[in-house]
Symmetry: C2
Subunit: 169 residues, 2 copies
């Protein structure tokens, strides 16, 4: 059986070594602290909450925009070499489990990446080389979550079938 990591690489077209090139340098330090990450997440969610595609916009309908922005930039800062802001406030990232309520399909991953590419394009506080590294990480992670979503739903369906086939007690 293919691992989550293998599926993420195959589906995103990004090799693991490229996805985790974000770890070759400390991006938090080289970008100069929190602000570029706050800029990026603000640009990203401003696009998302304003998306003309209702099916995608509705995924975020139950979250406040400012909370979504903070959750995202705190995770990015922590993952890219900065202080562990996300874990101090919310615990382990637990990416797959925290995305469980959402339909993380391939279409949703592509739409997420579309907005993220445009958000990066318009974030002047991030240099071009860092943008490439970050986008590779995002692509790989988006499809890692698609693979995680499929895994979770398959396991759920097996458990439900098993429960349904039990004789009444």
């Amino acid at each position: 059986m293919q691992s989550l990591q293998e599926k993420a690489s195959e589906w995103s077209g990004v090799a693991t070594s490229d996805a985790f090139a974000i770890d070759e340098t400390n991006l938090f330090e080289s970008l100069g602290g929190n602000q570029p990450f706050i800029d990026l997440s603000t640009n990203f969610y401003t696009r998302v909450y304003d998306d003309e595609e209702e099916w995608f916009r509705s995924i975020f309908a139950n979250s406040k925009k400012e909370d979504a922005i903070q959750n995202q930039y705190e995770f990015f800062i922590q993952r890219m070499g900065g202080p562990p802001l996300f874990s101090q406030r919310r615990g382990h990232p637990a990416l797959i489990a925290r995305h469980r309520p959402f339909p993380v399909t391939r279409e949703a991953a592509e739409r997420w990446l579309h907005h993220m590419q445009l958000a990066l394009d318009t974030t002047s506080t991030i240099d071009p080389d860092s943008k490439i590294k970050m986008m590779n990480f995002f692509k790989h992670t988006a499809y890692f979550l698609v693979a995680g979503n499929e895994m979770t739903r398959q396991a759920q369906s097996v458990v439900c079938k098993h429960a349904a086939s039990k004789p009444p007690s």
Copy 2:
């Protein structure tokens, strides 16, 4: 509703600030690299695979001991300031999702922590102050996973009931 983080703190008795005191210094650097983490995980799983409690030992029965050791020390090294060995090989830690196949009950968390405390006690390459920081992180994380396990199973049960109550198509 209590968050995962709040449940982890309440159930473990470890405040978030103590749990993430591992981030105040770079433990990987201060301990001098990979070896103390390899020692710890080897001591830990040697106890676990030899546990007299069959119910606990059986949780690990489908994994090879050497794989369990490597998965654990690579995660610890990555989380405690070292190179991202785990992510390079397996992707995001995704702690709750990767523990989904296992019955992460409070009893299992306590037994895990019991073995980890003894494993730390017998790992001479880790200094006493680091041991306290690490144990606080482990306690909080163990109950974070208990909370995650309950969340996953509750969500599953809701979906199953929903599926079962649908009229036959």
